[in-house]
Amino acid sequence: MGRAIVRNPTVFLFDEPLSNLDARLRTSMRMEIARLHRKLEATTIYVTHDQVEAMTLADRIAVLHNGMVRQVDTPKGLYDRPAHIMVAEFIGSPAMNLIRGRINRDEDGSRTLFQSKSLNIAQPSWEHARRGNRGYSPGTYCRRSCRHALRRH
């Protein structure tokens, strides 16, 4: 990193720079990189598998999966409004609970229901669901496992 910094670049590319460090050193180096980034004010593209590094260092994160960009958003945006089931599972620890079920309208059509064996959750609408890459339609069956769905895309 030192050798790169003295050349005064406008863009840094880091490819998993902290992956070989133990947990404690990784945390302190994370802070060091954040500090350098603020000081040098150079655009930094940082590749990592570590969601904590991504969430704490990034202004904006692009989540890649099977060669596809699943979502580009701020760390908070990824956490609050995951646009894809893969993003939902990947961001946050422990992982988000995922339950298969069915979307229905209640009798007077005023609310949307999520129903599974034990669950019956009502909402006026699932507004955030429509922010996803693909829409859903009421009555969509969730037939196959999430794993299967991920393999297909």
């Binding site: 995951p82 894809h84 089931i85 939902a88 599972e89 946050g92 422990p94 992982a95 988000m96 609970n97 995922l98 339950i99 298969r100 079920g101 979307i103 999520f114 599974s116 064996k117 034990s118 669950l119 959750i121 009502a122 909402q123 699932w126 955030h128 669901a129 996803g132 693909r134 829409g135 859903y136 969509t140 969730c142 037939r143 196959r144 999430c146 769905a149």
Partner: protein, 73 residues
């Protein structure tokens, strides 16, 4: 649907009934694995002070505003 462990609460007034299968204590946090009556499984983040044991029956509340819906087709 998806719901994060921090958006489910162990709540005596809750409507979801289940049993505790596993408890993870990390010191600062406590994660309780609950299997609901219909077989669905949830990980719930609870306060470390809450006295819960393996096998306990609990009731849960899900914050509907924090539920995410994803298509599976």
């Amino acid at each position: 649907m998806g719901i994060r462990p921090e958006h489910i609460a162990v709540d005596p007034a809750g409507t979801l009934c289940g049993g505790i299968e596993f408890i993870e204590d990390t010191g600062s946090d406590r994660y309780v694995h609950v299997t609901l009556e219909g077989g669905e499984r949830f990980v719930v983040r609870v306060s470390p002070g809450l006295s819960l044991s393996l096998g306990d029956a609990v009731t849960l509340t899900v914050d509907p505003g924090k539920v995410h819906i994803f298509p599976v087709d």
